[in-house]
Symmetry: C2
Subunit: 124 residues, 2 copies
């Protein structure tokens, strides 16, 4: 064991800057509303590109592009039958991530709401 972080012990606190780039890139995948909506749709069950396009009210190339990123990151998988491509959640831990963010967001918004309500009487 030397001073540099080794594989398997990925505590973000100890990562090198280059590794943090990878972590940031992974966050960036989830930093787009449309991609989150795609994940949300796939949470209900697998869907093909045309279905997603219709549901999300955007263009087919746009869906394809976003799907590619989600697939490259390993969040989404694909299954092709004939010439239609069915997409599905390949790593459901992505929802743990999203829900952690949701929780933090709720806490944040609640604390803001608190500030607007009865200043000086926090917590009741």
């Amino acid at each position: 064991m030397n001073r540099k972080a080794r594989s398997g012990n990925g505590k973000v606190e100890t990562l090198q800057p280059e590794a943090l780039e990878l972590v940031a890139a992974r966050f960036r995948i989830l930093a787009e509303p449309l991609r989150l909506r795609i994940l949300q749709q796939l949470h209900e069950g697998e869907k093909n590109v045309s279905e997603l396009t219709a549901i999300l009210q955007t263009t087919q190339p746009n869906v394809s592009k976003h799907l590619r990123l989600l697939q490259d990151a390993g969040f989404v998988g694909r299954r092709q039958t004939g010439n239609t491509v069915y997409c599905f959640i390949a790593d459901s831990s992505v929802f743990d991530l999203c829900n952690l963010v949701c929780t933090g967001l709720e806490a944040r918004l609640a604390s803001h709401a608190e500030l607007l309500r009865s200043p000086g009487r926090r917590g009741r």
Copy 2:
């Protein structure tokens, strides 16, 4: 209870598109290497802007700008004494998030490595 998601039950699977924008925005805060490096530094203990600037090898305005985003998101707090501003982690759950991403990333990279090693003999 009506058909729209209500406060407190923030399962990402059920959020409206507008709510997903907020979730995406929160992910976006963590989608920058320099911001992750700031968080990393603050994990060791509070630091002021000048110290961060020196450590991160960038300009002071750049650090200030990123700190602002981290503060607005509630991840980082500030304490001002005299004219120096000390920053610290205000929501340490941000590291849970980062570590979840790290874990997923490691798994992803490991599975890629697997593909390069002995094709056909996966899992051993």
